[in-house]
Amino acid sequence: MKKAGRVLHEKIGMIRKKISWCRTLWHFSPRSIQMTILVPFTIVSLVCMLFLGFTLYQQFAIRSQQMLTESTQQLLGQTVVNLEDYLRNMRRISDAMYYDVIKDTDLSKGSVDSEMNLLYEANKDNLISFALYTNRGKLISAAPVAVEKNGLDVTQQEWYSKALDQLENLHFSTPHVQNLFDDPTFRYYWVISLSRAVELTDHGTPTLGVLLVDMNYSTIEQMLSEVNDSNSQQYVYLCDSSGELIYHPRQMQINAGLYSEDNLQAAAYEDGSHEETYNGERRVVVVDTVSYTGWKLISVIPMHNFQMGLASTRYFVIMLVTLTLLVMMLMNRLVSLRVSRPLRRLNDSIKDMEAGNLHPKIYIGGSTEVEHLGRTLQTSLDQISQLMKDIVVEQEEKRKSELDALQSQINPHFLYNTLDSIVWMIEGERYDDAVFMVTQLASLFRVSLSKGKTIISIEDELRHAENYMNIQKIRYKNAFSVNFDIEPQIRTYCTVKLIVQPILENAIYYGVKDMDEDGEIFVHGFLKDGDIYISVKDNGFGMPQEEVNLLLKDNQRAHKHGSGVGLINVHNRIQLRFGVEYGLSIQSEPDEGTQVIIHLPAIPYTEETQTLLEEGKYQGQLLQKTTEQEDRKNES
């Protein structure tokens, strides 16, 4: 059970890891169309270029390694030819000395000195000395003429013993310091000794002797130094068939133990190129054999030498790949931009629409599909716009009808009360008062009707208010006084009709009607800060602040007196017509009185403004004007 639980736990862990990976990939995955096109194209380009660069570099590396190995083989072959020429020349000299001079000379009768000197002089660039010894190591002749060292026993020297051991051969020694002659100038020579057994004739009797040609080692050294004269790590060295070094560019370091060479192993190689690892270093060894001597000419090419030679190529390939990648990236970007631009522009149009622009300019262009998309969107937007306009008109109609309904609430109450008062006057034979009352009522209704207009001038509205107050004063037998203080200039401005009368009605019924003392109502109209204010103030009972707060909010309150048209109706009508910044404000103190202030915009009363306000378009135009002014301000 435990095991099963553990397995399940592990599986859940793996799934969680996978989900985490997917989330990470999702986080880094491109979101925009341009990036969706750009990223895969760039990745594909990168992979292709890397593959191409790597393959090219590998091919170039292999090819250059082959070429270097081949050229080394050619160089080695040429050097071997030169060496063989040199050694063949030395053998010819030895042969000439032996067959042309020594064999023809009876030492008891003549000397080989002059011929030996002649041969030496002719070849002294490559030779250190000639010497002819008897089979007991006694010097017969030498060129150049030199004094033999005291107590010297040449029979102990290797070249001598080898010559007598194998009589038929010519023997090339390894390099050594010549130990034959005394040189008071302290000079010692590194030589390669070519020795052979010769048949000497002394008193007609043939005896054995040894002919020694000491070749100047520096000639071979120079020959091979020229081959090694390069800055690369590649070098060429020469060893005999047993691997003993004859020449090595680092001979002194090898002698001092500072460097080592794999000469013993390399001497066993067949001619050709071989790969080996020596002292932890991989290298190619090219071997060629010098004929007759069996010497091995060996070229060593460390593997890192190939790398060194390829360093500039490597940088070139990196540069090429990077450059191509950069160009590909730019190309991909251009292509992706071209493909995604129409979509992005279309997207920008939609963003513009989202930002609140009701009439955005929809991009129509690009490929056929995107163009079709743009056209469809444009059509849809046009339809939406038309629908919205219809809704606005519908709403306006609805508002107007609501306004009319509010206004119509006034008439029946007031008419009933006034007619009731006139009836009582006629019954009480107060005909003059009745006539006055009817006259005032007629004027009041004229204003009320205003040919069906909702917007009238303040002049008319105030006349309507005065008519109403005149009627009420008669009804209440001048129980209160009314005082109108109106700045003349406000009379020519627009107002919604029947807004002062309901306030006066409230001032009478809730303020001054039941007062013991004389009630006073003061109506003050004035212009302030470009707006119009009409204040209706009474010295009545007033009310607490809580009640004031409810006056403009609670539309369901029961009306004890009056026409039943509450302040809230007036307030709503003003706001519906002019905007929420306008309307009524009420200040009241219990036992002090109440002041209701009507706040209206100062719109001159003309036919044009009246018509616009009636149609509810004045606000839109005002808004448009304001927006244009703000735009101009921002632009400047």
Binding site: H176, V177, F186, S312
Partner: protein
């Protein structure tokens, strides 16, 4: 915006890679020397320095170093050598390889030089302050062992007959610790042999006349030279007179090798001077390549050579260096 920045950064990165690759491609073939090392040794034209200089030059080639072998004569005092080193430092030397004329009273000088350049002492060590950072080092043979090796040669050649023999010593410049140690090593090795040191000469000015004077005053059966120049003076003295004193010593010059071959010198200790030169440059180059690499003292080998074995394969490589 973020994507644009990423794109811009990647582009900048690629342009940088292109620039870097192009620069590397242009400079990949060039092989400029990195450092300059000046070498100041007494009497720089002397034969004894031939293998040493070969070692220096080979190492300089291997390590791509510009080598300046300062031409010098006999040093008169340490301040003269100090002035030469100062001149080299002012000429821009990054490293100094020097054989100090004197080993004592050199602490301040070594501290001051090693602060400005990598310093390698050759042939002899010297007084110095504690060097934790390894700013300088010395490469030289085991000088005490060389002294003892000369003594051993006497013991081998004479055996019991060494008892009563008189020895004349050419001690060399005893201001150098190297020669002091050789002398100490030699004295300690023969102190129980019964031989006695009858005179000691430093072998500097008018050496042959001084040797003749010494030999006339108290004839030594054996003359021992502690260094190459002293051995050459002794060789000159013996060649010019009928004095049959046996000669031993340390040396490496062509002249001494010749007289070893000739039989005038019975036995000679030959340090591997090529190795000393090579090691000195390598040590300084390592320090210059990595300033945190402390320099370490190196000891070089030596061989005991006499007439019979001087043409042995190994000895001839040491005595007759192939200077390429």
């Amino acid at each position: 915006m973020k994507a644009k920045w990423r794109y811009f950064l990647v582009s900048i990165l690629l342009v940088m890679v292109i620039g870097l690759s192009a620069t590397s491609m242009l400079y990949s073939g060039t092989d400029e020397t990195k450092y300059q090392i000046s070498v100041i040794v007494e009497n720089s034209a002397g034969d004894r320095w031939t293998p040493f200089e070969a070692g220096l030059e080979q190492a300089a080639e291997d390590r791509n170093i510009r080598l300046n072998l300062v031409s010098t004569g006999e040093f008169q005092n340490l301040s003269e050598e100090r002035q030469m080193i100062e001149n080299e430092l002012q000429s821009g030397a990054d490293g100094i390889i020097t054989q100090l004329y004197s080993s004592s009273g050199t602490a301040d000088m070594i501290t001051e030089i090693s602060r400005r350049a990598a310093l390698e002492l050759v042939d002899t060590d010297a007084d110095a302050e504690v060097d934790v950072e390894g700013k300088y080092a010395a490469v030289m043979p085991d000088n005490n062992a060389i002294g003892r090796a000369i003594g051993n040669e006497l013991m081998i050649n004479y055996g019991d007959k060494l008892k009563g023999k008189k020895i004349g010593l050419i001690s060399g410049n005893q201001k150098q610790y190297a020669l002091q140690k050789r002398l100490d090593g030699f004295i300690s090795s023969i102190e129980n042999s019964g031989a006695s040191v009858v005179w000691v000469e430093d072998g500097s000015e008018a050496a042959e006349e001084r040797l003749e004077y010494r030999q006339k005053k108290v004839h030594a059966d054996i003359i021992v030279a502690m260094e190459n120049d002293g051995l050459e003076h002794a060789v000159d003295y013996l060649s010019q007179t009928k004095d049959k004193a046996d000669l031993y010593g340390e040396g490496c010059s062509d002249k001494n090798v010749y007289y070893l071959d000739y039989g005038t010198i019975h036995s000679m200790i030959v340090p591997n001077e090529y190795n000393m030169g090579y090691q000195a440059v390598v040590s300084v180059a390592d320090r210059l390549d990595n300033k945190l690499t402390p320099m370490k003292d190196h000891e070089i080998s030596y061989r005991v050579v006499h007439k019979d074995n001087m043409y042995d394969t190994d000895n001839q490589k040491l005595l007759f260096p192939i200077i390429q």
